[in-house]
């Protein structure tokens, strides 16, 4: 076959262009740390890749939810713990007041302490995380407020708060503060925490008649309320555990998705760099051959 310089230069040009394109691709793959830079690189794997990326982003979203639910529940748990401790103190005071050795002065100072504890409990009942009340059940305003007569009442209705912590798992995360603090019917058989404390306070100031009520009626009611707090706390603990388990599962899932993503993409740095080296070598060789051959001409020998 006749070879003309035109053919040679054209061949070199197309070789250089193709080689540069391959080098560019390798360079971008290495820089991005990815084998699949566009769907056309792997038509069959591209949709799967998108699905995996999406699952990963979703898992990240759930992990965020889980973290928030966890801090909400831990906060609830710790507030319920503090409430329990205060109730233990109230019980001690009631037992102390019920004994016949107490005189009126002692009773009134106990009454004062109960009153202080009630204030403290009111603050705890209105605990917030961020701008949300832990026990309000959704209302944005302070849920537990004192009315004109000094009775603690509740504002707004309670609503169950449910969070989605995993693809198919929702979890209730709020405790019904209404049932706990205000009771089902004010002054009824099942008095709320605040009504009970008020009642204890009143009984403390009633003298001996009150002491009898304290011993029999109030102590039992206090135990019932304490039980309820414990039960709620146990419930919160169970929710917290479940959240933690789900969180661990999500982290596992995240790791597996990342592994799967890496496998699907199939990027191998060592291989890419080796290829790049080969590419460089053949590019250099091509340039060298061209430079050598290009110099050869009969013109140089005709003098």
């Amino acid at each position: 076959m006749r070879i003309t310089p035109q053919m040679q230069s054209e061949a070199l040009r197309s070789y250089l262009v193709n080689n540069a394109a391959r080098g560019d691709r390798l360079m971008r793959q290495i820089a991005a740390g990815k084998q699949i830079l566009r769907p056309a690189d792997a038509p069959t794997r591209a949709p799967q890749l998108l699905r995996l990326q999406q699952a990963l982003s979703e898992t990240d979203g759930y992990l965020k939810q889980v973290a928030e639910v966890k801090s909400w529940l831990s906060e609830t748990d710790s507030v319920l713990g503090q409430i329990g401790e205060l109730l233990v103190r109230v019980r001690e005071l009631v037992v102390m007041a019920g004994s016949s050795t107490q005189n009126a002065d002692g009773l009134s100072s106990i009454a004062e302490e109960v009153k202080q504890i009630e204030e403290e409990l009111l603050a705890l009942a209105n605990s917030r995380l961020g701008n949300r009340y832990l026990f309000s059940g959704g209302t944005e305003a302070e849920p537990f407020v004192r009315d004109d007569q000094g009775r603690v009442g509740v504002d707004g209705e309670f609503h169950v708060m449910e969070r989605q912590i995993a693809p198919d798992q929702t979890l209730r995360v709020n405790v019904d503060g209404r049932r706990l603090f205000v009771g089902s019917a004010a002054g009824g058989e099942d008095p709320g925490l605040f009504d009970l404390l008020r009642q204890i306070h009143d009984h403390l100031l009633e003298g001996e008649a009150g002491q009898a009520k304290l011993r029999i009626q109030d102590l039992a009611a206090l135990d019932a309320v304490f039980d309820r707090v414990l039960k709620e706390r146990a419930q919160v603990g169970a929710w917290l555990q479940r959240t933690e388990r789900v969180g661990e599962q999500l982290v596992d899932l995240q790791v597996r998705l990342q592994q799967h993503l890496a496998e699907l993409d199939g990027f191998d740095l060592a291989r890419s760099i080796t290829e790049l080296r080969q590419q460089e070598a053949s590019y250099e060789a091509a340039l060298m051959v061209t430079a050598r051959l290009g110099r050869l001409s009969l013109l140089d020998w005709l003098r």
Partner: protein, 491 residues
């Protein structure tokens, strides 16, 4: 046989060699011109068939007169030339497709580019996740709205981008049709110019072929082939088999140029609605022009038509995706109470991917939302709507997905089509480019100028010229001697 006869032979040899030297000069001058075909001198002593016809026999008068120059021809191979045109058509078509697919790939920006639908969708789903956690949080609601608006804008951007690809194809079709017609005119004109130029003889009595014009015409034919594959019919030329006497150009079996006449022009009709643009031939001899519909052959023009259709196909998928998003979210939101506690307002409105947008009612809804004034059916931390939305959004994520879910349409139809289309276009372009290169090489191998080769010819011709000149000098001396002798005899 006389001395004078020998002198005549030497003269012809000098003539021929002078022409060969001129040819070498011309060849060397055009060594870098890819459209130039190297020239060759055909003389009575050449082995070219054109020089046959008794000229090589000892009986012919010219044999005795030395090498008479017959013609200056160019090297050419009709077969290679026609295959090259075919390869150019294919490669130009593939190139158009490759570029259009590349711009579509850049538009979709997958996997996971910052402006890609996947990314916008993920952001939207993440906002919905937050929304299920804080259904009454104004900030979270605003983020849901913002992400929804971004998603809608992203889909509109895709639709506009695809439409833009279609529009730009049509714009180029218009220019290319004009160019094709200009080329047809020019080829017809060159046919005439070649006929005229070849009617006379050169200064040395040789037939001069209009080689420059013929090269020009071949280049134009190749350019035309890039736009639309043509069939070139050449009338045989008894004297120079490589060359043609007359030339006709056909598109899809219809003769469009016959000699110096353009019979048909290339015309096109713009797209209207879902009707794709159309290419056809239009007679130049009737008014209004008689239309001829041919099966449009390969070439850049056909590539553009195909890409227009591909754009239309992608657009239907985008429309399906947008419609599913609009309808499905609306049916969830309008079932009961919407995001803002008022009777269900759809989130997305519009009819297709081109005009999907967020409901205007939402823009000022932010100020209207008051968690304390919600209807009993929707307590402030009720995330039922948010959860329904999230679950619907996720339902397309599973492999296979739900039919006609936006994600199913996107990941199951659009992305595979985009991936496969771009890959095929790339492979096709590589293959067609390699074929084109192959035929271009073969052509160059036959017609290209090699300076070294010309140098070798130059050396040989130089020697021959020197020898012929020496011969003339010797003959002159011999004649002088004879004349001197004759002069002496007369004294």
């Amino acid at each position: 046989m006389s001395l004078l006869n020998s002198l005549e032979v030497a003269k012809r040899a000098l003539n021929k060699q002078a022409l060969v030297l001129e040819t070498i000069a011309e060849n060397l001058a055009h060594a870098d011109d890819p459209h130039f075909s190297r020239r060759r001198v055909i003389s009575s002593s050449s082995s070219a068939p054109a020089a046959a016809g008794g000229l090589l026999t000892r009986q012919g008068p010219l044999t005795e007169g030395g090498p008479a120059v017959q013609a200056l021809v160019r090297e050419r191979d009709k077969f290679v030339e026609s295959r090259l045109r075919g390869a150019i058509s294919e490669s130009e078509e593939a190139l158009v497709a490759e570029r259009a697919w590349q711009s579509l790939e850049a538009l979709f920006d997958e996997p996971g580019g910052p402006a890609s639908f996947s990314e916008l969708w993920n952001n939207w789903v993440n906002a919905l996740q937050d929304f299920t956690g804080y259904p009454d949080d104004l900030g979270v609601r605003q983020v849901v709205l913002d992400r929804s608006a971004e998603l809608a804008a992203g889909i509109r951007r895709l639709a506009q981008g695809v439409a833009q690809v279609q529009v730009s194809q049509e714009e180029v079709i218009e220019q290319e049709v004009d160019r094709a017609n200009a080329l047809l005119e020019e080829i017809a004109r060159l046919n005439g110019a070649i006929r005229q130029a070849e009617s006379g003889l050169g200064p040395r009595g040789e037939r001069r072929l209009a080689n420059g014009l013929r090269d020009q015409r071949d280049a134009l034919l190749r350019e035309l082939a890039g736009l639309v594959n043509i069939t070139v019919r050449e009338d045989g030329n008894a004297s120079y088999p490589g060359e043609s006497a007359g030339l006709r150009v056909e598109i899809g079996g219809t003769v469009v140029v016959d000699g110096e006449q353009v019979l048909y022009r290339v015309e096109w009709q713009e797209s209207s609605g879902s009707q794709p643009p159309r290419l056809f031939l239009c007679s130049t001899r009737t008014s209004p022009g008689h239309e001829v519909n041919v099966e449009w052959p390969a070439g850049a023009l056909r590539g553009r038509l195909e890409m227009w259709n591909t754009g239309a196909e992608l657009m239907t998928h985008l429309d399906r995706l947008a419609k599913a998003l609009i309808d499905d979210t609306s049916s969830i939101l309008t079932k009961g109470v919407d995001l803002y506690g008022s009777p269900g307002q759809p989130l997305f409105v519009g009819t297709d991917a081109g005009d999907i947008r967020i409901n205007d009612a939402w823009k000022d809804a932010q100020g209207r939302y008051d968690p304390r004034r919600l209807p009993a059916a929707m307590p402030p931390n009720d995330n039922a709507v948010a959860r329904d939305l999230l679950n619907w959004a996720r339902s397309g994520a599973s492999a296979g997905g739900v039919a006609d879910h936006p994600l199913t349409v996107y990941q199951g139809t659009l992305i595979p089509r985009l991936a496969e289309g771009a890959r095929q276009a790339e492979e096709r372009q590589e293959a067609a480019g390699a074929r084109r290169q192959h035929w271009e090489n073969l052509r160059q191998s036959r017609v290209g100028v090699s300076p070294d080769e010309e140098m070798v010819t130059l050396l040989a011709t130089e020697r021959a010229y020197q020898a012929a000149a020496q011969l003339v000098r010797s003959l002159d001396e011999a004649l002088g001697t004879i004349i001197d002798l004759l002069g002496g005899a007369g004294r």
